[in-house]
C-alpha cells in the first residue's frame, strides 16, 4: 500500500477542520482512507467555489481528519443561466409562455418575460438568467460534508445498533469548524460540534476547540498525534534509540511500521526480552511469532543475528511501562513455548513420513488434495527436466515428493506463512540432502513483487511446476481472475512462472509445459484444456508487464510477442534486440518495406514454393536471390540468439524489396503469377516474423528533418 511517509503540514493558516470520531478503524484501511479523504476533500472545495489554498488529510485509529487552508468566507456572487424546458414546450403557438415555462420561471424567481432562448447541444431551450448570491462557507460545507463522509469507500462496511448508516466503524462524534464557527450538519443522529475526545485512556475527557486553527494543538493536549507521518517518525526514532541502547538494531519492516502507526494515537516504544534458549528455534519462527502475531519488532545483535529482544509500541505514555512490558513478555513467552512444543513435536518424525497425510489436506475445492498435487508435482517436474533436455535428477524428484509435507506439521498449521521455510528446516533435520531441502524451501519463490527467484536449478524446476500446476488447475475449472479479484493468487503465480523462465539457465517450450500440466489433471484433464487459450493470454499479459517494467516500449513488446513467446527468455532477447535497432533511422525504411510486404503477403490464397519460372521482372529474381542469401545468414544468427545481428541482416533486403515494389505490379489478373509474387513476399515477411511482427511497430516520430 503506497503511503506518503513525508510529514505534510498545511501551507497557510487553517480555516477549516473536519474530524470524524469513530470506534477503532482497522489499521490496514487507513493509508488508503487518508488518500481518499484528501482527494475527495480537494474535489469538494473546488466544486464548492470556496477555494482552498491547501488541503491535508490525517487519521488515527479513532479519527479521520481533514484540514484546509485558504477557504473564502463566502462563495463569490455570480451570474448564472439555468436551463429550463425545451423551446417548443415553453411557448404556445402564439409565442406565449406555457404553464411549463411559467412554472420554471417561478421556481427560479424570475419573470416569465425574462426567459431567454438559447441553442445548445440537443436543440433550443429556455434559460433563466439570474444573479446568484454567494453563500456562506458554513452553509455550503454543512450541505456537502455528510456526502463527503459517506462517499468514502472502505473494503468492508458495517451497521451498528438500530442505525441505518453503513460505515467502516460506528461514528461517535463529528467536529466541523469554519474558523470559529461550527459547520452544522448531522449524520445518522450524530450532530456536528466543536468537541473532540482525547486519547482513549490518557485524556478521556472531552475537549472544546475554539477555532479550526487551534485543532491540532487541542488534539495534542488530548495526547493524540493526528499526523501519521509524525507518529511514524516518533516510532522509528524510539525504535532506534532503544535498539542502540541494547547494542542491536531493530528490523524496521516498513509494512509493520505502517500498521503499528495506525494502531496507536500516541506511541511509546518499549523493549522486552525473551529467554535465550528460544534462539534455538529457526529465525523465521521467532520473527513470525513476534511480527505477525504480536506486531513486535525483532532486534538483531551486532553480528546481525536475532537477539533475545523485541520492541513493541504501546498506545499510550510511559506510565507503568514495566507492567506493559511484563505483560507483553508473558504473551511472547507463551507463544514461543507453543512454537517450541510444535517444533520438538514435529521433529519426532522424519518429514517423509508425513507425505501420506497429504491425502487428507485440501488443495482447492474441486481440485482434490495436496496428495494429488504432490503426485502431479512429481510428474510435472520430471516433464520439465525432459522438456529442458536435462537429465532427471534424484534431487528434483525427492524435493517434489517432500514439497508439501510441511503443511501437515504442527508448526505450519499454526503459522501457515512458514510453509516452505519449515519444509526446508525439517528436511535438513530429517537427513535429506541439502539441495533437496533448499529446493523445498525455495518452492514458493518469488512470493511477492520484487522477491527473488529460486537460486538453484532444482528450486526453479519445483517452483515452476508448483505454479504451472496451480494455474492449469485453476484455469481448468474456470477460476480466471477478473479485475482486482484474484483470491487464489494466480497473477502472482503467473508472474513467478515468467520470472523463473526469464532467469533460468534452462530453456523449454511454455506451450508444451502447459499441455503437460493439463495432462496431469486426471479426470479434469480433457475439460480443463479448454482453459488453455485463456491461460496463454494470461501468461502473455504477465510477460508484457515484465517487459514493460524492463523499460521496453509497448509497440516493441507487441511486435515481439505477436511473433510468438513460446520461449519467454528468447522473446525477451528478441524484444531487446528490436528495441536496440528500432530507433535507427535506416531501420524505419526496413519496417516500411517489410510491413508493405507483410500486408500483401496476407492476401496469399495458397502457400506454395516460389517458382522462378513464373517471374516476369528482373526485380522478382533479384528479390528471391537476396532473400535466399539473407535467409541463410539470418537463420544461423537466429539459431545463435544473435537477434540484433539478425535484424541488421534483414535490412540488407530492403533495396530488393523497394526495387520489387517499384518495378512489379503484384495484384495482376493472372492468378498463377499473382500467387507466385504473393508467396515471394510471404517468404520475405515470414523471415522477419521469426523475431518480430514489424507491422506492429508504431512509426518513430520524425525527429530529424
Amino acid at each position: 500500500m503506497p503511503e506518503n511517509t513525508a510529514r505534510r503540514t498545511l501551507d497557510g493558516a487553517v480555516d477549516f477542520v473536519l474530524e470524524v470520531g469513530t470506534e477503532e478503524i482497522p489499521a490496514r484501511f487507513l493509508p488508503a482512507a487518508i488518500e481518499q479523504l484528501e482527494a475527495r476533500g480537494r474535489a469538494l472545495f473546488e466544486e464548492s467555489l470556496l477555494g482552498a489554498k491547501d488541503i491535508v488529510a490525517y487519521a488515527t485509529p479513532r479519527r479521520l481528519v481533514l484540514l484546509v487552508a485558504g477557504v473564502a468566507q463566502r462563495q463569490v456572487d455570480r451570474e448564472a443561466d439555468v436551463k429550463g424546458p425545451a423551446k417548443k414546450a415553453a411557448f404556445d403557438a402564439e409565442g406565449r409562455p406555457t404553464k411549463a415555462a411559467e412554472g420554471f420561471a417561478k421556481s427560479q424567481g424570475v419573470d416569465p418575460a425574462d426567459l431567454v432562448v438559447k441553442a445548445v447541444a440537443g436543440g433550443e431551450y429556455v434559460f433563466a438568467h439570474k444573479h446568484v448570491a454567494g453563500r456562506a462557507a458554513e452553509d455550503v460545507l454543512g450541505e456537502a460534508l455528510p456526502k463527503l463522509i459517506t462517499s468514502l469507500e472502505w473494503p468492508k462496511l458495517m451497521r451498528w445498533g438500530d442505525h441505518d448508516l453503513r460505515f467502516v466503524r460506528p461514528v461517535k462524534w463529528l467536529l466541523a469548524l469554519y474558523r470559529g464557527t461550527v459547520v452544522q450538519f448531522s449524520l445518522d443522529g450524530v450532530t456536528s460540534g466543536r468537541t473532540t475526545l482525547g486519547h482513549r485512556f490518557l485524556h478521556p475527557e472531552a475537549l472544546s476547540v475554539a477555532t479550526a486553527a487551534d485543532y491540532l494543538a487541542v488534539a495534542r493536549v488530548g495526547q493524540v498525534i493526528v499526523d501519521p507521518a509524525e507518529r511514524r517518525a516518533q516510532i522509528i526514532a524510539q525504535l532506534r534509540a532503544l535498539a542502540t541502547k541494547a547494542g542491536g538494531k531493530a528490523i524496521e519492516d516498513p509494512d509493520l511500521l505502517t500498521e503499528v502507526t495506525h494502531l496507536v494515537e500516541y506511541p511509546t516504544a518499549l523493549i522486552g526480552r525473551f529467554a535465550p534458549e528460544y534462539l534455538q528455534l529457526p529465525a523465521d519462527v521467532l520473527i513470525t511469532s513476534m511480527k505477525h502475531h504480536q506486531r513486535f519488532f525483532p532486534v538483531l545483535d551486532d553480528q546481525g543475528r536475532l537477539a533475545p529482544l523485541f520492541i513493541t509500541v504501546r498506545n499510550g505514555d510511559d506510565y507503568a511501562l514495566d507492567v506493559v512490558r511484563a505483560g507483553n513478555e508473558k504473551v511472547l513467552r507463551a507463544r514461543l513455548a507453543d512454537a517450541k512444543f510444535f517444533y520438538d513435536d514435529d521433529l519426532k518424525r522424519p518429514l517423509a513420513d508425513r507425505v501420506a497425510e497429504l491425502d487428507r489436506v485440501a488443495f482447492q475445492e474441486r481440485l482434490g488434495t495436496m496428495g494429488d498435487k504432490t503426485r502431479r508435482l512429481e510428474a510435472l517436474t520430471a516433464d520439465i527436466l525432459g522438456l529442458a533436455h536435462r537429465p532427471l535428477v534424484e534431487t528434483v524428484r525427492r524435493a517434489a515428493h517432500l514439497a508439501k509435507a510441511d503443511l501437515v506439521t504442527s508448526m505450519v498449521k499454526e503459522f501457515p506463512e512458514l510453509q516452505g521455510r519449515m519444509g526446508q528446516v525439517y528436511a535438513e533435520k530429517s537427513g535429506e540432502p541439502a539441495e533437496v531441502a533448499v529446493a523445498v524451501g525455495e518452492q514458493y519463490r518469488p512470493a511477492f513483487a520484487g522477491d527473488e527467484v529460486p537460486s538453484t536449478v532444482a528450486g526453479k524446476v519445483l517452483a515452476l511446476a508448483d505454479k504451472v500446476d496451480t494455474l492449469a488447475a485453476a484455469f481448468g475449472i474456470g477460476l480466471v481472475p477478473t479485475g482486482s479479484q484474484d483470491p487464489y493468487g494466480l497473477r502472482r503465480a503467473a508472474q513467478g512462472v515468467v520470472a523463473i523462465l526469464l532467469a533460468a539457465d534452462f530453456r523449454l517450450s511454455l506451450g508444451q509445459l502447459i499441455d503437460r500440466a493439463f495432462s496431469h489433471l486426471g479426470d479434469l484433464a480433457a475439460k480443463a484444456a479448454e482453459g488453455r487459450p485463456a491461460l496463454m493470454d494470461f501468461l502473455r499479459a504477465r510477460l508484457t508487464n515484465a517487459m514493460a517494467e524492463a523499460g521496453l516500449r509497448y509497440d516493441v513488446i507487441e511486435a515481439t510477442l505477436a511473433a510468438g513467446f513460446d520461449d519467454p527468455a528468447r522473446a525477451f532477447e528478441r524484444a531487446r534486440a528490436l528495441a536496440s535497432v528500432r530507433d535507427e533511422e535506416a531501420f524505419a525504411d526496413v519496417v516500411t518495406a517489410f510491413t508493405r510486404a507483410a500486408n500483401l503477403a496476407g492476401k496469399t490464397a495458397a502457400v506454395r514454393p516460389v517458382d522462378p519460372a513464373l517471374f516476369e521482372h528482373d526485380a522478382e529474381r533479384r528479390l528471391l536471390e537476396a532473400y535466399e542469401s539473407v535467409a541463410a545468414e539470418a537463420l544461423v544468427m537466429e539459431n545463435d540468439g544473435r537477434y540484433t545481428a539478425f535484424l541488421r541482416e534483414l535490412s540488407k533486403l530492403r533495396p530488393a524489396v523497394d526495387a520489387f515494389f517499384d518495378a512489379v505490379m503484384v495484384m495482376v489478373d493472372d492468378q498463377r503469377v499473382r500467387e507466385n509474387r504473393l508467396n515471394l513476399l510471404r517468404s520475405v515477411s515470414g523471415l522477419a516474423t521469426r523475431v518480430a511482427d514489424l507491422s506492429k511497430l508504431v512509426a518513430a516520430p520524425a525527429a530529424k528533418a
Partner: protein, 333 residues
C-alpha cells in the same frame, strides 16, 4: 507484576469464580438477564440458543452467561499450559448494540481491577465468521498488553439474515483473563477458589477428553450418530419444533468436531458435513424468525430499563481475558 498481584495494587487478584461472578454482577447491573450454560456440547457461546436465536429479528435482547466451549482439535492431554479441549467463555449479547458499548466493556474490565492507565488496551481488527451458522460480523479482538482477552463483534448477518438491529457480542476468554490477573504462566495453576486450582478441577478431564477425541472415539458409531442426529433434526423441524431440532443441530456440530479431531473426515467429506449443518442451522433460523413474527415479536418494548443510558462518558480502561483457544469467541462448525 510478577510474584504478587500488582495488577490490582494491594488487593489480591480475583479468583476464577470471582471473575465470572464479577462479570455477571456487572452485566446484571446494566440490564442483562443472567443466563446459564446450555446443556448441549458446543464450540462457542454464540451457539447457545440464548445467543443464536435471540440476535435474529427485531426484538431487543440482553443476556450474559458463562459457556463451556468444547473444541476437540485444540485438546492437548492437559500438557499444554494454554490450550484446552474445553475452555470457558463469558458471553454477553446486547441487542441493539448501545452507542457506548466500548465504554461499557472497558468498565467491565475496570470492575475486574484492571486499571487501563497502567496497561495497553487495543481494539485490533478481527472479523468473525461462522459459515455453519450463516453468521458474520465485524469487530475486534481486544488486546491487554499484547494478549487477546476478548472478542468483540457486531453481528451483521445471522442464519443468513441481515441483522437489523445489530447485536453486539462480547466474549471474554475466562481462563486467559484470569491467568493474566493472577499472573499464572500455566492456566492449570489458576486459583479457582481458595486452595483449589483450575487443574484440580479439569486436568484429568482434559486428559480423558483428549484421549477420547484423538484415540478412542469410534468413527463408525459417531458417523452413524451424526446421520441420526441430522435426520432427527429434520424430522423435528418438520413438526414445527425449532428448539428441539436445534439441539440436534448442535449435536451434529459437536459430533463433527470429534470426528475431525479423530482424523476421520476427508477433505471431500468435510465440505459435505459442514454444508449439512449449515443447511439445518439456517432452516432453524428461518423457522424461528417466522415463528416470532407469528407471535407478534413479543419482546418488543422489553428491556426498557436497560435501554436507558448507563455509562458515564469517561471510560476506565482495563483489559483482561483471553480466549484460551486460538479462536476466542469464534464458533467452530
Amino acid at each position: 507484576m510478577r510474584g504478587e498481584n500488582t495488577v490490582v495494587g494491594k488487593q489480591r487478584a480475583l479468583t476464577f469464580q470471582e471473575v465470572f461472578l464479577t462479570l455477571s454482577q456487572f452485566w446484571q447491573d446494566r440490564g442483562c438477564l443472567i443466563g446459564q450454560p446450555y446443556d448441549v456440547e458446543k464450540g462457542a457461546g454464540t451457539m447457545n440458543p440464548m445467543s443464536f436465536f435471540r440476535v435474529i429479528g427485531p426484538e431487543p435482547w440482553r443476556v450474559a452467561y458463562v459457556e463451556p466451549s468444547r473444541r476437540p482439535v485444540d485438546a492437548r492431554y492437559g500438557e499444554n499450559p494454554n490450550r484446552f479441549y474445553q475452555h470457558h467463555q463469558f458471553q454477553v449479547i446486547l441487542k441493539p448494540s448501545p452507542d457506548d458499548v466500548q465504554e461499557l466493556y472497558l468498565q467491565s474490565l475496570a470492575a475486574l481491577g484492571i486499571d487501563a492507565k497502567r496497561h495497553d488496551i487495543r481494539f485490533v481488527e478481527d472479523n468473525w465468521e461462522a459459515p455453519t451458522l450463516g453468521a458474520a460480523g465485524t469487530g475486534w479482538e481486544v488486546w491487554l498488553d499484547g494478549m487477546e482477552i476478548s472478542q468483540f463483534t457486531y453481528f451483521q448477518q445471522v442464519g443468513g439474515f441481515e441483522a437489523r438491529p445489530v447485536s453486539v457480542e462480547m466474549t471474554y476468554g475466562l481462563e486467559r483473563l484470569t491467568g493474566y490477573l493472577q499472573d499464572k504462566e500455566n492456566l492449570f495453576d489458576i486459583i479457582w477458589v481458595d486452595d483449589l486450582t483450575y487443574g484440580d478441577v479439569f486436568k484429568r478431564a482434559e486428559y480423558e477428553h483428549s484421549a477420547y477425541s484423538f484415540e478412542v472415539a469410534d468413527v463408525k458409531t459417531l458417523t452413524t450418530l451424526y446421520d441420526l442426529y441430522e435426520a432427527e433434526a429434520k424430522r423435528t423441524l418438520e413438526q414445527g419444533l425449532i428448539l428441539p431440532a436445534y439441539d440436534f443441530v448442535l449435536k451434529c456440530s459437536h459430533t463433527f468436531n470429534v470426528l475431525e479431531a479423530r482424523g476421520a473426515i476427508s477433505v471431500t467429506e468435510r465440505t459435505g458435513y459442514l454444508g449439512r449443518i449449515r443447511a439445518l442451522a439456517r432452516a432453524c433460523a428461518q423457522a424461528w424468525l417466522k415463528r416470532r413474527e407469528e407471535m407478534g415479536f413479543p419482546l418488543i418494548g422489553k428491556f426498557r430499563t436497560a435501554a436507558a443510558p448507563t455509562a458515564t462518558p469517561a471510560a476506565t480502561p482495563a483489559a483482561a481475558k483471553a480466549a484460551p483457544s486460538v479462536e476466542g469467541g469464534k464458533a467452530r462448525a
